[in-house]
Amino acid sequence: MTGGGLAPETDHPADRRPVLEMTGIRKSFGGVHALRGIDFSVRPGEIHALLGENGAGKSTLMNIMCGALSDYHGQMRLEGQVVRFSSPHAAQKAGVATVFQELDLVPGLPVADNLSLGREPTRRLLFLDGRRMRRTAERALAVVGASIPARTTVSALRLGEQQIVAIAKALTAEARILILDEPTAALSAHEVELLFDLMRGLRESGVGIVFISHRLDEVAKVADRVTVMRDGRVVAVLPGSTTPEDLVPLLTGRPARDMFPARTTVRDRVCLRTTDFGYRLRRPSASWREPTGVSLTVREGEIVGLVGLLGSGRTELLQAICGAAPPGRTLGTVEINGRTVRLNSIISGQRQGIGFVPDDRRRDGLVPTRDVAQNLALSSLSRLSTAGFVRRGRQREAVRWAFEAFGIKASTPAAPILSLSGGNQQKVLIGRALLREPHLLLLDEPTRGVDVAAKADIYRLVRSLAAQGLAVLVASSELPELAGWCDRLVVLRDGRVVVDVAPDTDPALVLASAGSATPPDTSPQERP
């Protein structure tokens, strides 16, 4: 291990011998070196957070640990024995359990059936032994301390409960290592707490946990050790208590503030004003947090950040403003450029000059069967065509503008969209919204799964458009990003605006008002 920035390893839980030890792991795909010599170890009874931006090599390392990749260089030892897993199944048998982000549960089957999937107990060689299956399930659920009835169908469970069932399924009797791949990504704050309790309980029983996450605040809360990866290397191994502020520069490779462009002048004209705005779904859903009594403004040239924990209603608020929400009823008023508007569909929102970039790129943004240029032009085809015929020349020009403005890196505009990196895919989607020349741009988690360089590009581009008068409302789960990028922050909690603050406000205070730790001890304060 060479290279600077390597912090000394701390002597955390009692210097126990690592249960899993990886040394000099290297792996390349084609000409791309994904891992350039990784040392990584997990001790029994520790929660070891693995951090890294997208493309840092986290997933590759995880795939090697869990047996999904078997052709790599270097050595992996499990309890001293050199191992090389040929499949995830082999890894699980050896004691390395993995819970992938995509839970491998069958939604239509009961919990019990899921827990013995593939090794169902039978009577007389043929008939399912339901009773034994339920008993096994109850035992497995007891291990993770969950009070979930084994007969419940998985699809009827909340996401957090499903996550716990998935953990129970992965944790066979011989499990000594548990790998959790971004387990909190889709959980509510309360569910995250339950998951952490479960993780702490497992730690007590001696299981070594590898915790992969993007949420730096969570890491500080639960991890004993943190390994930070960047560009296929380990850049630091730190104690779990390391603060997000100290982690960010390690993750990105540069001081946090260099990422963000200088702020520009905010104009006086208000572009978006909501007054006591709310949205009631026609069919209420537990997973959709209805915005309630939201009053906020976004001025021309202003970038406003929506802060809030998962489940605070950030996404829902953006959807309701732009007309993308499920069918329902609007309460209060929305004004765009001083005119009260009724937005009941994406199309009506677009007509009012609202551009929206959803958070889930794969699900809601990309059309995988179309090329880069076609994906870019998707929202603005009417501007690019005459009498229904798409004008090739105009389309080419628009695509070229987007390529230059964003620095989209694609071999050609005709390249398949999925061949692009996450960052470039995101640039394409933002470009798609911008090609309509909106007055107001709504961005939901615009940098999720985006590499550092592309993040900086996105910050810069959106800022330069704001300088020309674009109003931007951006939701993100990363407070440092919003603090560095935005002109003003609006904190949401339970679908309501709780405070409206300047971006340089003490992060602890902002997080507190978002409800992450202690309840807010300050009354909501208004800033111009």
Binding site: F29, I346, I347, T369, L378, L381, G388, F389, L418
Partner: protein, 350 residues
Amino acid sequence: MTTETTQTVADLAPPSVRLRRRLPALDILVRFQSLLGLVLVLVGGLVFSPRRHGTVLFLTVDNLANIVRAVSETGIIAVGMTFVIIAGGIDLSVGAVLGLSGVTVATLMVTHGWGTVAAIVVVLIAGLLFGLVQGAVSTVMRIQAFVVTLAGLQVASGLARMVSGDKFININYGHGHGLAPPSFAVLGDRLFGNVIPVSAVVFVLVGAVASVALNGTRFGQHVFAVGGNERAARLSGINVRRVKIITFGLCGLAAALSGVLDAGQLSFANPNSGTGYELTAIASVVIGGTSLFGGEGTVVGTIAGALLLGTLNNILQLNNVNADLQLIVTGLIIVAAAVLQNVAARRRAT
């Protein structure tokens, strides 16, 4: 260190690297699978064709005209089906709509004394509406297209029997009661020195218009987007419902046109005509490289797929291969086409 690196590249490059070099050829194969298949089948036709007095029967004008005639009906339907499938749907009603349209156009002329143009236009509009209604039921009430059009199949074939009294309707040409206008007979003619069947000309026109509509228009782009990722299409401001409904309308229109041609070519209308055409049409679309998952496909591929199936059947018939074996061969070709597509899709995913 340096030696190690060299070794990595030389010996231990993952298989994907070595594979990648071969991929362009595979890409071309998949892209033009139906055209290549068609060429293969045509060559096979020449080789295996029976000869009589030194002439290759396969190549005679009559035989080729027969192929094109037969293909044009399922082919036109398949072109309409291409839109539906690219948008992520399916239409099982087309064969029955063909039968219904045939007996309707015949009844209008023979029993009700309508003129050719009026009868054809009304039937085409009816086919369009039939498709639009199916599309509307499917999208607005959120019922799978498979189910809605399966019901549509039953409804259309029931209507066809009602209209015809469950009998063949003979179309005799002339002026007066019980006769169809002679101009309708044009549909069974051959043009350009008695060589090219009218139905073939119609087929080519339909294909050309459809190809331009799919690739050159806003609507076509929307069809691809809706089939490729419906949620993304909606969030991009595309009226997803409208796009889907229109594809069903176009497909119904194509089926009605086929029904009119069928009646014109045969000079009689059979309420059971078109039975099973939906499957031939879907097969043509799949062989043509269009994914049943939606989002990609070409009209040219579909046309080639339809010609491939028609030519293959013709060759087998010329060689007196029995009809059962023809079905088996068709089935195998469909599987082969699907496998090739799968390979291509997997490649794209990585």
